[in-house]
Structures are given as C-alpha cells and as structure tokens.
C-alpha cells in the first residue's frame, strides 16, 4: 500500500530535506475501510456466508436429533397452548406469570433501590448505622447467586414454621427474592447516577434556598436517572429473564411449564418456545431503551427550535 500512496508523500520528503526535518508520512499502512457500494456488497456477502453456515449446520444429517428435539414446530405449539388431557401446562399461560411478576418486582425495585441509594449517600450522623446496613446488604445481595437465595428463601422460610410468613405461595417468596437481589443492583446504578451529577449543580440549587431533599428530587435525581436510564432498563430486561429462576420453586411459569411439557412428550421444543416468548419481550425492551436515549438527546435540540 505504501507504494500506492499519492505523490505528495514523496513531495513532502523533498521539502523536508530543505529544512533538514525528517520526512513525515500521513498515510495509513492499513487497507482503507470499504465505503458506499463496495461496503454494501461486502456486508451482503458476509451475511450470506454467516446465515448459510448456520443453515448448513442445522440442516445437516447429524443435527437431526437436535431439530426433532428442540425445533419441532408441532411440539412448540403444543407447549405454547398446553394440553390438559396429557397434563401439559401452557407455556404461554405460564409466561404471563413471568411478565406480571417482573413488572411488579421492577416497580418495587425502582422505589426501594432509590431508598437504599440515598441512604448510602446521605451524611447525617443519625443514619450512620443504617448506612452500614445498606452497604452490608448490597454487598451480600450482589455477592450471592439469585438461584441460591431463591432456594434458601423458597424452601427455608416455609420450614421455619412462622405462621403466615411460612405459608405463603411460592410466587410470593420468588417475588421477594427477585426484589431482594435486584434492589441491590439497581441501588448501585442509582448511586452511580447520583454521583455523576456535578457538585456544582447541587451548590446552584442550594444557593437558591432549595432544601437538600428538594435538591435531590428536582435537580439531582432527574439528571441522575437520565444518565443511567440505559443501565436501569438493562437491569429490567435482566430481571425479566431471571423470573425463570422461579421455576426452581415449582411455580408453573414459562420455563417450568416447558419442563413439564418436555417430560410428558420427551421433547424439548417447549424450551425453544419459552425462549422465543422471552425474546419477544426483551428485544423490544432493548430497542425501546435505545429509542429513549436517542429521543432524549434530540428532544432538547428539537424543543429549542419551537
């Protein structure tokens, strides 16, 4: 490539010999990036190659058991709608539980995590022990796998014989565990967001006479949440997926229903069905996250033009 560099490169050398400075090169030794039509056809070719490779592997003879066991359309449909006569629970119906449980938990997590985050950031001497507790809690809840907490609470609490506390439905324990774990993560996200707001903003607000509380609510948090919105939505998508762990407690949500269908029919296409259902929710959610970020960026510019 160096040989193909325009003449200027050597022209530069001639000039520099006059001043005595060493010659400079302004040209990359790498191949130039493909642009325009060349770029488009290059990406078309690579797409065909990748898709073709996947199709080839899946359609090969040796992949037959996989196709039959995981990609059987009839079995997928059967798992989706269920068949009471065979004892197959509907994965679709079970998925509703995943959806509303994640929504309910997310709502609680957003509120509680904000409390934990502000607790960790306030400086009052009275709150010192609570601050210690909040730190211990986030360390613990983030350090233990969700599934272990699920097993602990889901099987441990009922065996405590604590009256009504021990006799709740597994869904309640599952919801508690998800809120317990995710509040810790989300509180750290909030905390990072709050710390990302410049101290000068706080000083400007306090100089107007705003109380620390009003400053937090009207000045710091709106900026903090905006800064960490992608992370918050990311955690929400993660929470949505982790509702699958509820299956360990024998709750008939999507994954457990798929397990049942698989056990009855000796076919795992129900898992594929469950995966598709999760994707149907999480992919729009992540797209929406990107959209919100883009809108937030342009809104200020657009709003100003009116």
């Amino acid at each position: 490539m160096v040989g193909q560099a325009p003449r200027d490169a050597t022209g530069g050398e001639a000039t520099s010999s006059v001043t005595g400075d060493p010659p400079i090169s302004l040209y990359s030794s790498h191949r130039p990036r493909l642009r325009g039509r060349a770029g488009a056809s290059a990406s078309a070719i690579s797409t065909v190659v990748v898709v073709g490779a996947i199709a080839l592997v899946l359609s090969s003879k040796s992949a037959g058991p996989f196709r039959n066991g995981f990609l059987d359309l009839h079995q997928m449909w059967l798992a989706l709608v269920g068949d009471p006569s065979k004892g197959i629970v509907s994965v679709g119906k079970g998925f509703f539980l995943n959806v509303w449980l994640s929504l309910l938990c997310e709502g609680l997590v957003l509120v509680l995590a904000l409390g934990v985050a502000t607790l960790r950031l306030t400086r009052g001497p009275v709150l010192l022990p609570f601050r210690g507790l909040a730190i211990a809690y986030t360390d613990f809840a983030r350090g233990v796998p969700v599934i272990l907490v699920m097993l602990w609470i889901g099987f441990g609490v009922p065996s405590l014989n604590l009256g009504s506390v021990s006799s709740q439905s597994p869904v309640v324990y599952a919801g508690f565990v998800l809120v317990f774990s995710y509040t810790a993560y989300v509180s750290e996200v909030y905390r990072a967001g709050i710390l990302s707001v410049p101290q000068a903003q706080v000083q400007a607000a306090r100089s107007l006479g705003l109380s620390s509380r009003t400053t937090l609510r009207r000045v710091v948090l709106p900026q903090a949440v905006r800064n960490v919105l992608p992370a918050l939505l990311n955690d929400f998508a993660s929470l949505q997926k982790d509702t699958a762990i509820v299956s360990t407690l024998g709750v008939a949500e999507a994954v457990h229903s798929a397990q049942i269908a698989g056990g009855v029919e000796f076919n795992y296409s129900g898992f594929t069905m469950a995966s598709i259902l999760f994707l149907l929710v999480t992919i729009p959610l992540t797209r929406y996250t990107d959209h919100v970020m883009a809108r937030d960026r342009t809104r200020r510019l657009a709003n100003a033009a009116t």
Partner: protein, 254 residues
C-alpha cells in the same frame, strides 16, 4: 450605585477565617456592605475571593469570626441555611444552569419550590424578567442551546427571581468568550444602577472601577487595601496592590 446615607448594613463580616487542611485561605476578613452598595473583590486567583463569597451564603463553613446578615449572626444555632440563602443570590463562574430544565423552569424552580409560588404566577414573573434581558423568546429552550453569555444572563435572572437582598457574583465572566463578556457586565451594571446590593469577585478591572462603590484588594486571604475605586486604581498605597495592578496593566487588562 451611590452610597445612601444611613442605609442599613446588609452584610458584615468580622475576622472571618477559613482553612482547608493546613492552608488558611481566609486570614481574617473584615467587610461591610450597606444596602444598594456594590463592593468588588479583586486579587489574583487563590487570594480567597471565591471562598469568601461561598462563606457568605454558607456553602462553606467558617472556622472563626462572624458573618452577619442584616444584623443576624449566621452562626446562631437556630439559623436555617435555606432561609439565609433565599435572600442571597449567587451566580457562578460556570453558570451552573440546570441542564434538564428549560430556561423558564430554571428561573421558576426557586420561586415555586422555595417561595411556594403558583406555577402561573411564577412563570409570568419569570417571563417578565427574561424579557428585561431580551431572552423571553428563549424561555422554552434548554440551556445547552444558549451561548455562554445568554446562559450567564439567565443564571443572573434565576437569582433575581428570588428577589434577593444581596447578590454574590463569583467571577461570572471568567468562563466566557471575550466577545460575550460585555453583555453580562452590562446587565450587572444595570442592576447596580437599580440599587441592587452586590458583592462581586472579578478580574474585570475596568468594570470594577466603573461599577464599584468600594474595591477590596485581597492577597493571601487578607484584605490588603480597600477604598473607593479611583483611589485603589489610581493611587494605591500598599506595595502589594501596586504590584498586582502593574501586572494587570502589563497584561493589558486595565
């Protein structure tokens, strides 16, 4: 603008000292500002001007000495710092407008959340103030769409919306492009003309000379020399003041 005889003392500081660690930033500041008076603090960076201003509205706590606002000792245990600050406006070098709020909401935040004004009344008053600085048409815009000079004028209006008894201006033109300085200084000049009581830390000597009733030269955390601007700028008695002004002149800033 001119001293009103018998005007009450708005702010009086006595032997104010403040240290950050081992560094004593303020080494006993005595200062009094009467109502409608404009006092300019000059001196090189690090002389304690900003810290002193920040002590006056309790953003920083002083180590010793007293600060009185209308005769009330701000160190009194029952002093509510939010009540103090609602009467003292502060404008910062870096504007510090709230980027998530429109210009209008920036201006109405204080009146609504501190003074408890209704949205409609607060917005009407804010628009009047913005009209006075010629920025009423920018009310719906967000700060990042404004020039530095416009942002700083909005920041001044944000303070004015609280109807402060004292305005603290902390090097408010230092972060501006040179061509935007005058629009901000003109606004401050108007405020001085209207009788606003102001304590101004500034590097703009020409402006200080024009607008100040009294100029204080700070060095190393002390007021070395103070007096009417004509005397400080034309006939300073302290060698330190002379040296400082000579450096300013050499830099072409006076």
């Amino acid at each position: 603008m001119t001293r009103v005889p018998g005007a009450p003392i708005v702010l009086r500081t006595t032997a104010v000292r403040k240290s950050f660690g081992d560094l004593e930033v303020l080494q006993g500041i005595d200062l009094a500002i009467a109502a409608h008076e404009v006092v300019c603090l000059i001196g090189s960076s690090g002389s304690g001007k900003s810290t002193f201003l920040r002590c006056c509205n309790l953003l920083e706590r002083i180590d010793s000495g007293t600060i009185e606002l209308f005769g009330h000792d701000l160190a009194h245990e029952r002093i509510d710092e939010n009540q103090v600050r609602r009467h003292i406006g502060m404008v910062f070098q870096s504007f510090n407008l709230f980027p998530h709020l429109s210009v209008l909401d920036n201006v109405t935040l204080g009146p609504r959340r501190v003074l408890g004004e209704e949205r409609r009344g607060a917005e009407r008053r804010a628009l009047e103030l913005l009209a006075r600085i010629g920025l009423a048409d920018k009310a719906a815009e967000y700060p990042d769409r404004l020039s530095g000079g416009q942002q700083q004028r909005v920041a001044i209006v944000r303070s004015l919306a609280m109807e402060p008894r004292l305005l603290l201006l902390d090097e408010i033109t230092s972060a501006l492009d040179p061509e935007l300085v005058s629009e901000v200084l003109e606004l401050v000049g108007e405020l001085a003309h209207q009788g606003m009581t102001m304590l101004i830390a500034t590097h703009e000597m020409g402006f200080a000379r024009e607008v100040a009733d009294s100029v204080c030269f700070l060095e190393g955390g002390s007021i070395v020399e103070s007096g009417p601007p004509e005397r400080i700028f034309e006939d300073p008695t302290e060698p330190a003041t002379r040296r400082f002004l000579q450096r300013i002149i050499a830099a072409g800033r006076l």
